[in-house]
């Protein structure tokens, strides 16, 4: 019983560590996507302006 | 003491975007210079750098060839959009305070003289918070002239003034220039700019003659 409880705490700790890391990475990837889209849009706009010049 | 306020190779970035690029500017004594440019083109930034309120990213601001240090600030009179006064002090106290900051002798008499000069002697004991816009501007004028500057830096000084006050301000500035002072006026009214000796504008961060 005691071992089981200990393992429960142990797994909770592992979950916290890796889930936190994962959450950080997911957030990074999300904002990366947004940034990427915005950059592409701007580059296209820049080309448009250059062509019309 | 005559002096030249100059910018050499001044760059200013804001949000990693250059507002001013490679600005070279010399304000000769006795010259009346106008700067007119559209909003957001860096006019205010330029005048703040000249006044030493903002630090350029690169480049130098000099007074008579030396960096603009504390002592050189004594030669500048600055009138920006905000009056730079304390709302809780009376008009007289404000002037006395600034006179003391500039270490002028007989601060009280000087303050009284300047209050009479800008026509505020009736409201000397009234708190600045209760002043109208025009009264604040007059007091700000007294504040920036009281230490006898050599250069006046003005950012839209006629904003919100009635015709009479406006004529008074213009007369003041003309007298200042006639006495050998340098005038640097930022405005977005072309007719005001045309009255000056030299007209400048800012285009894409660079200052040009126009």
């Amino acid at each position: 019983m005691r071992v089981l409880q200990q393992m429960g705490f142990l797994w909770a700790v592992t979950a916290v560590v890796w889930l936190a890391t994962l959450a950080f990475i997911v957030r990074l990837v999300q904002s990366q996507h947004r940034l990427h889209r915005e950059l592409e849009q701007l580059e296209r706009a820049l080309q448009d302006v250059r062509r019309s010049e | 003491m005559k002096g030249v306020l100059a910018l050499t190779g001044v760059y200013k970035e804001y949000n990693l975007r250059p507002v001013l690029e490679d600005v070279h500017l010399r304000l000769e004594p006795g010259q009346r210079v106008a700067l007119s440019a559209p909003n957001g083109s860096g006019k205010s930034t330029l005048i703040q750098i000249l006044a030493g309120l903002s630090r350029p990213t690169r480049g130098a601001v000099t007074w008579s060839g030396r960096p603009l240090d504390a002592a050189a600030r004594r030669c500048l009179g600055v009138l920006l959009q905000q009056p730079m006064l304390y709302g809780d002090l009376t008009g007289r106290e404000n002037l006395v305070f600034f006179a003391r900051l500039y270490r002028l002798a007989e601060a009280r008499q000087l303050a009284d003289r300047w209050l009479a000069e800008v026509g505020l002697d009736d409201s000397a004991q009234v708190r600045v918070r209760e002043y109208s816009k025009g009264m604040k501007q007059r007091l700000a004028l007294a504040r920036c002239l009281l230490h006898g500057p050599r250069v006046l830096l003005l950012d839209e000084p006629f904003d919100g003034l009635d015709t009479a006050s406006r004529a008074y301000f213009e007369g003041r500035f003309d007298a200042f220039a006639k006495a050998g002072g340098t005038l640097f006026l930022v405005t977005h009214h072309p007719e005001e700019a045309r009255q000056m000796d030299r007209q400048l504008t800012i285009r894409f961060g660079r200052v040009r003659e126009s």
Binding site: - | L53, R55, R73, M84, L85, R100, L101, V128
Partner: protein, 224 residues
Amino acid sequence: MNSVQVFWTLVWKDLRAEMRGGRFVVSCLSFGVLMVLIVGMALNAAPHLPASWASGLLWMVLFFTTALAMTRHDAKEQEFGGWMGPWLAPIDRSLVFYARWCAAWFMVLVASVGLIALFFIILNVPFPVAFGTFVAVVAAGTLALSGAGTLLATLAGQSSLREVLVPILLFPISIPLFLALIRLTWHALDPAVIAGAAWVEIVGAYLVVVGVLPWLLYELILEV
């Protein structure tokens, strides 16, 4: 010599503005007294507080009132662009910081004298045995506290969250100071408790850091 005169001119300006309805002392005092009252109720009108609790509560009240008052002090300067005035004058700009610190200290001190008196009366705390030590601790403590508060209010001055941010930054930064002041006050209330020189050193260190840092940094923080 001249710098000293300019310094007093700057202090005089703050104090004069305060007397003209600055409400720094009044708001400090009323908020602080209210807190003392609430604390008294929270302790279920305990007839006799242990000296350690009394000193802790006293500094808690003082920290909160100072942190809240500091943002008000700062807002005054922004109103008509007043802060730029001294900035244009031919003076060393860090002088502006020291003057504001001094003015803030003076006002906090005035408020805390009233506050402490009421604290002793309302919570029925016995008069401090080592009175001289007590006065010194309060003076040094409020000096360090108002210095740290003025510095952090300057840092947070450009932030849109200024009002909330000053307490949020001030508390963690000055926890050692808080602990030191509690221990030293405890010692003053009950000299049988030995405080230890390390606490005096911590208060001293805060005073030195707050005294020296702005001289290097003040212009850097405000002039961008």
